[in-house]
Structures are given as C-alpha cells and as structure tokens.
C-alpha cells in the first residue's frame, strides 16, 4: 500500500498553498496514532520511509523523535505523539518525509493507513472549542462516514516552528551548566 502512496507522492512537488481550502478535492494520506486517525495532504509528503526506530538524541527538545537516515542525509524527525502530548511508543514508527523551511524533516507516526479522496463538501474548519495548545497543528476536519478525520497542517509541524523561544533554550542550558559549574567551583576551592 505504501508503495502506491510513494508513487503518487513522488510525482508531485509539495505545493505551498493550504490544501484544506475547501474547494479542491485533494488526496489525503491517513496516518494512525494510537487509536486516532489524522490526515495529511498527500502532496506535502515527499517520500515515505518504512518503519524504523529513529536514533534518540539525548538533550534534544521534547518534540524531536530522533534521527533517521534518508538518502545520504541525516533527517531530524518530529514525533507526532510528543507534539500532541500523547505518551511515547516503543514500537517502530513510520516516517513521512516532509519539506520544511529549513530543509526536509521526518514526521514520526505509528502507522500509515490509506489514501482517501474526501469530497470538499465534507470539509469543515476547526471548531472553536478545540484545545488551544493542539489547535495550531490542525487544519480543519473531514466528516467521513466512519468518523471525523482531523487534518494536520504540515507547515506547523516544521521543527523550525516547533522550536521553543530562545529564552527557553537558554534556561535549559543554564540549568545544565549550573549543575556542572558547581563541580568546577568546588574544584577551585581545594
């Protein structure tokens, strides 16, 4: 199944305009995360890397899943589970390669399901009651017969966008340097 997606995905360049505009009948790739299903516009996907276990990066920001090897490059992956605040999973994950502002990145999901072609008439924008923290990642929803399919906004999943404000990074490095700096102080006392 995933081969078919790859074939379809490869031929197209990632478009810049948002898919979920409502008018077009875009193809949607459905991914699974635990028991929930999410959709991604297929033209935003460059390639699908089969299930792998990304290399964890110690001290990396929360949303980083790890590193994967992709066509001679090392890609940083974003763990969709962590972004959406779900617990981590030890099972091998499927990696979707997306194009971000700072180059390609991987999106780590539990599994890939299918490719749908939902009709634009079924589309509805984000409801106002959505949890504000998660809401920025969602780009509306399709009302399917067997439930709702929440669309993800690939632009918001870009690691460059997920990067915390500079202050947070600094405070992180401060805490680590403080703990080790103490050692050197004490060494100086002797």
């Amino acid at each position: 199944m995933s081969a078919a997606i790859v074939a379809r995905a490869k031929g197209q360049k990632p478009a810049k305009e948002p898919v979920a505009g409502g008018g077009t009948e875009a193809e949607v790739c459905v991914v699974r995360l635990g028991h929930s299903r999410f959709g991604l516009p297929i033209h935003s996907i460059l390639e699908i890397v089969g299930s792998t276990c990304p290399l964890p990066v110690p001290l990396a920001p929360e949303y980083v899943g790890g590193l994967v090897h992709y066509r001679g490059d090392v890609l940083t992956t974003v763990s969709l589970r962590r972004v959406l605040g779900l617990g981590a999973s030890d099972a091998p994950q499927a990696i979707l390669v997306l194009e971000g502002a700072g180059g390609c990145f991987g999106l780590q999901v539990d599994a890939l399901q299918e490719v749908l072609q939902p009709t634009a008439a079924d589309y509805e924008p984000n409801p106002a009651t959505l949890d504000s923290r998660r809401r920025r990642f969602f780009a509306g929803t399709y009302k399917l017969r067997d439930g709702l399919l929440v669309m993800l906004d690939p632009g918001q999943l870009d690691p460059l966008r997920l990067r915390p404000a500079q202050g947070m990074v600094e405070s992180l490095s401060r805490t680590t340097s403080r703990s080790t700096g103490k050692d050197s102080d004490k060494r100086g006392e002797r």
Binding site: L55, V57, L67, V74, R163, S173, D183, S184, K186, R187
Partner: protein
Amino acid sequence: MSRDSVRNRLPHGAVGAAGGGSVGTDGWRMPMDELTREFLIESQEGLDRMERCLTELEEKPGEMPLLAEIFRAVHTIKGTTGFLGFKRLETLAHAGENLLGLLREGELAATPQIITVLLELLDGLRGILRRIDSDGIEGEESDATLIARLAALQKPEACRAAEPPAPQPAPPVEVEPALAKQCVSEEQNLQSSPANDASPHAGAGQGAETAPARGAGNSAAESSLRVDVTLLNRMMNLVGELVLTRNQVLQAAAADARMTMLSRRLDMVTADLREAVMQARLQPVSHVFSKMPRMVRDLSRQLGKRVRLELDGQETELDKSLLEAIKDPLTHAVRNALDHGIECPEERAACGKDPEGRLRLRAKQEGSHVIVEVTDDGGGIAVEKVRDKAIERGLITVERAANLNERELLQLIFLPGFSTAAQVTSVSGRGVGMDVVRTNAEKIGGKVELDSRVGQGTTLRLRIPLTLAIIPALIVRGLGQSFALPQGALSELVHIAPEEATKAIEWIEEAPLYRLRGRLLPLVFLERLLAPGESRPGGGRDQFIAVLDADGRRYGLVVDGLADPEEIVVKPLSVALKEIGLYSGATVLGNGELALILDPGAIAIRAGIAMTADGDAARQEATEELAVQREAEYLLVEAAGNRAAVPLADVLRIEQVSLERIEYFAGRPVLRCGGQLLPIEDPGGALDAARRTAGARVVVVVCREGKRQVGIAVSHVLDVAAGSELREAGATLPAPGVTLLKERVTDIVNLSAVEPLPAPASDALQEAVEAWQ
C-alpha cells in the same frame, strides 16, 4: 562570486563528451540572469589573472606573454559587456584596452607609473563587477578621471614628461590616497567576508559548461569544467550512500562465492569512486596564494618597506571549503609579517641584512594534513616584550608568566586582545590579528604554531586537515547507543576494570577525578552529561576514559565501551539539534547505524573544564615522561603462535583489518589507508595463518621507521610490558634484537630491516591495476 564554483580538471578525453560551445547550444534560451552570472565568474577569473600578471610585469617589464594575457582579460570583458549592455564597464574597459594595445605592440614601455594606473583600472573594473553582482546594475559613478589618466599615458611624450627623472618603485604622490583607500576597502572586505559567504549563488552554473577557449596556449582551460559545489556535495553524499549499500551487499553476499567476487569488485570501485569525488573537491592553494603578490606589493609600498615574496608549493591541493577558510587567517598572517615582522630597509641595512625583506609562503602535504607556512626574515618576536605586553593588558599574572618557558610565552600572542605593535597602523595592530588566525584555524580542525628568533625572523605554521567531509573518529558507547569522538582531540585511552572503578575514580565533593601519571584529570561522565536526571549504577561494568585535549581544555570523558575507529562522513544537523550545542554533526557508521558526533570542545565548556594555561606544560611533561618510560617498553604481540616484541615508542596505531584489505604489490603485501600505501611485514606468518580461516581478520601494528611507516601483521596484541636487557654470556653490551619480556626471551621486530617499496610506486601500481583489469 567564483567562490561557489570549483574548477576541476578532467582528462582531455572528457572534453568531447561535454561539448565544445562556450554557452552551449541552448545558450540563447538561458535567462539573462544566468548569462550575467556566468559573465561575472569569468570576468572575476580574468581579473585575478590580470592582477597576477601585473605584479609580475613590474618585475619583468616588457615580458610580452604577460602583456598579452592582461590585454586578453580586459578585451574579453569589453567584448562581453557590449553584448550584455553594461555601458559604463565597456567604456572603462575600452580606455584600458587602448593603453594596453600600445603596450602590447611595444610602443610604450610598462613603467611603474603605468602599472599603478592599470592596477587602478583593475580595481575600477572590480568595483563595477561587484556592484553588478550585488545590485544587478553597474552604478552611476563617473570614471572620467581614471579614463583621462589612462588616455594621458597613451602619449609617450606626456608619459615621459610625467615620469620622475630616476625610475623609482614608489608610485607618484597623487596615487597614494587611492592606494590607501583600496587597502581600507580590502580590510572591510576581509571583515565582511563571512557575510559574503552567507549569500550563496546556489544557482550559478547549475550543471556544467565548458570554459570558453581562450586561444592557443590555454589548453588547461579547455580540459576543465566548471561544476557547482552543491552538485559535488550531493555527489559526495551519494557516494557515502553507496559505501553503505556496499557494506550491506558485502554482508549479504558472504554465502555465495560468485557474489563474493562481484561484491569485492563493487567494493574496489566504490573506494575508487569515493577517492575521485573527494579529489574533485580539491583545489590548488595557488587560488589563495595568487592574491598575495598584489597585497604584498600594495602594503609594502604603503609601509615603505621592500619585500620579496616567494611562493612555494602552489600546486598543493586542499578541499574547496578549507581553502576558503584559510584565506582570512593567511591574509592576517601576511599582514602581520609585513607590518610587525619585516623591518624598514634602513633598519635592515643597519643590522647587516639585505635591505630587501623576504616573505615566504609555503604549502606542502604531510600525511592527512596540509601545512601552510608564512616565514619572514624580519626582526622576530622578542619574548620579553610579549610577556610584558600580556601582563600589561592583564591577560596573564606576573606569577604565572614567570612559570612559562619561551615557547609558551610566544603562544600568548594568540590570546584575544593581544598586539605588540608599538603603534596602531592602518594595516594591523588592533589586537585582533593572531586571535583570528587561531580561531579560524581551529574552526576547521587545524592548528597554529609560531616559531620566532629575535633578529632572524618568524614562522607561522598552519596545520589543516585535508578534508572536512571525512574525519577519523573513535566510536564510543554510552546510553545504549554509539557516539563518534573525533580523533583529533583524543590523546589516549584508559581502561578501568569493574573492580577498580571505585578506587580509580576519586572525588572531591562532586567532582570526579582520575590520577593520570600522577596528575589529576577532571572527568566528565558521558551518561550524566547527556541524561542529567537519570542516575545509573556506576560500578559493576567496564569503563573507559577517553583523555581529550580540546583547545587547551584537558579532561577525561568516561564512556561505557569502545568500538573500532572509523573514517566517518560528517552530516550536518538540523537547527533544532545544533542548538543543543554538544554535537557537531551526525554520521552513518559502517554497519548502517546512525551516531551523533560529540564536540569535545563544547563538552569541556559545558562541563566547566577550565582552560589551563599550563595545559601545554602538563602535556609536555606527560609526553616527556612517557618517552622516558617507553624506551624500555614493548608491545607484546603474537603471530601464528610465536611471540614477538615491537618497541612501543615506534608504534603509531593498531588496526584490525579484514584479510581482504591486504593487497599485493610487487609480490609484497600492502595496505591502502587514507590514499597511502603501507608495506606490511609479516615476520611470524600471521597472514598465512589467517588465510586458513574464512573471513579472518588480521591485526596490523602501524609503526614509525625513520620518516616512513610500516605495518607489522600479527595475530593478536597481547600486552604492553617493560622489557629488560639481556646479555650474551661473557659480553658486556646488551644483545641486540632480543629482550626479556614477562620472564620470556622475546625477539624484537627489526623495523629498519623492512625494505621500502620499489620506487616508482604509483606508476607501477597504476600499471598493475590496469593489467589486472
């Protein structure tokens, strides 16, 4: 502009395939942009050549080929600009061409005055080109004065009238401000160059295009292609990928005999391909050296000094990116040598020296490094002055200074904020020079050394790795994953057995320390550093201390395990991961596993390891101590059941290689490593013994023998032990070639008896390879 394109050399045979047209058959379809960009690159190269020729012309006026080359450069610009519609450029080039035409036909002689004006023309043309490059237009400024001067010089009588009675190398007075201004603008360029680097002309010359033929006698240009650096980077990446695929094929093919043959061939081709792609990125250092004659000429005039510049080893090749990186340090070094090093002619004459100073730039390859030296025969650096200055600037305390030896005092010059110049001149003396040299060199994994003798001169030596893309690294384990540790910073490894762990690692409060040859070495636990919250039981397992020396910060990194050293291909990390600050990249290991590359310098800073000014002293002491100990120490090895001893002082490294990597040349086993051929000596028959078991590996002890390296093939390395001398009954001198090791009489491998490989090694090897194919 030409920064982003590499001129690479191809054999003549390849020219036909690439097509001969200058712009290509579909040149007319190219967007205007592309054409202009091509024009800029080409003109820049032409002007660089012109600059070289002009400074040479000054030495040898009337040298016709030089004049012809200069004329060609200006003429090409004029011709192309007309076509592109850059009127200002065309007018200026035209004025220059007229003057150059007269010079070429011998109607005028190239006086220093004319050369100075021609250099101004060059700067004028460059200025316009820069403007076109940045803004896309050539600007409105008027070149009337310059054009008028060029025109005035065309009249021989006017020229003669203007000429000073006795020809002097000094330019006429009115030119002085122009030169000074030019120096300032060069200085600005130098400072703003990182910004220039940041604006990539990624699209420039996408694909490849043959350089246009520039008449006869320029066949080098015809057999070369201009290739975009991004394309080469991509090729490098793909080759890395191929290497990985090859490794997997090799593993999968082990069962089938025919596949094994094929995969071995794949192995060889891949290795050669990797070599070739790396080669394509290399450029001769002459690209940087060629800027120097002009700079030296202008600066020496400005400073009123007489300097002869000697360039040596221009053909030495270096990776493109590294070449860019040494440009600034080298410029600084040359400026320093001219300003502070070489004295004024009168002063030199008073000391009994040749009034003309000598500045030598030399490049040479030494193993996997390139050495670039800047040597002047000037006044040298007075160590006392350096010390006093450092104390005055508060860079070092008086007590500390008293403890430093001469060599160490000299290195203080590299501290930020240091300058010994009595006065700040426009050339140098703001106290940034040497600091920049060192920082830039260290950024690319290089080192800087300084030697100086008062009254005799100074040598600045830059040691630069051949390539940035591939570095040797030790693979260490921690947190259940692999990390790569660049070997450049690694000085030694210490093993701590589980039972020793509590005793060997001592603590002062919360700071772990290890006693290394009587000195305390601060330790950093990799696991604690990377997973600060989690506590792991420390005892009960093997631990290794990697003793690191990163920019003068010396510490031990405690890791869980060691794997084989590997040559790794460095892959950049995304911004989010770079911000962690402890990793310098990632890499794919031979087994396909990913690993993060640790940055020893950043780890030291994060862990609060202080930069010890006496770090060097400690290291020196340690190595001296080691040398004394090592004299009587041997590496105990076993080859096919026999024990032998190799003097430890001669051992460079120990490598475990699969038998397939041992090749034969002129009937002797050899090992290819890093593009070099290592003769293998097999005194104990370890190779034969290994051949009897399939897929066997053999241990090669790489030793130093005089200036060359030899490998000793052994089955196992047993231990390091101190040997004691043995005397033959009745003799007073110790018996040569034998020692008592671990209570057993053991042969010492005689390294000097290893014959060198036949002389024309590369040719013969080439033939052998061709014959085999």
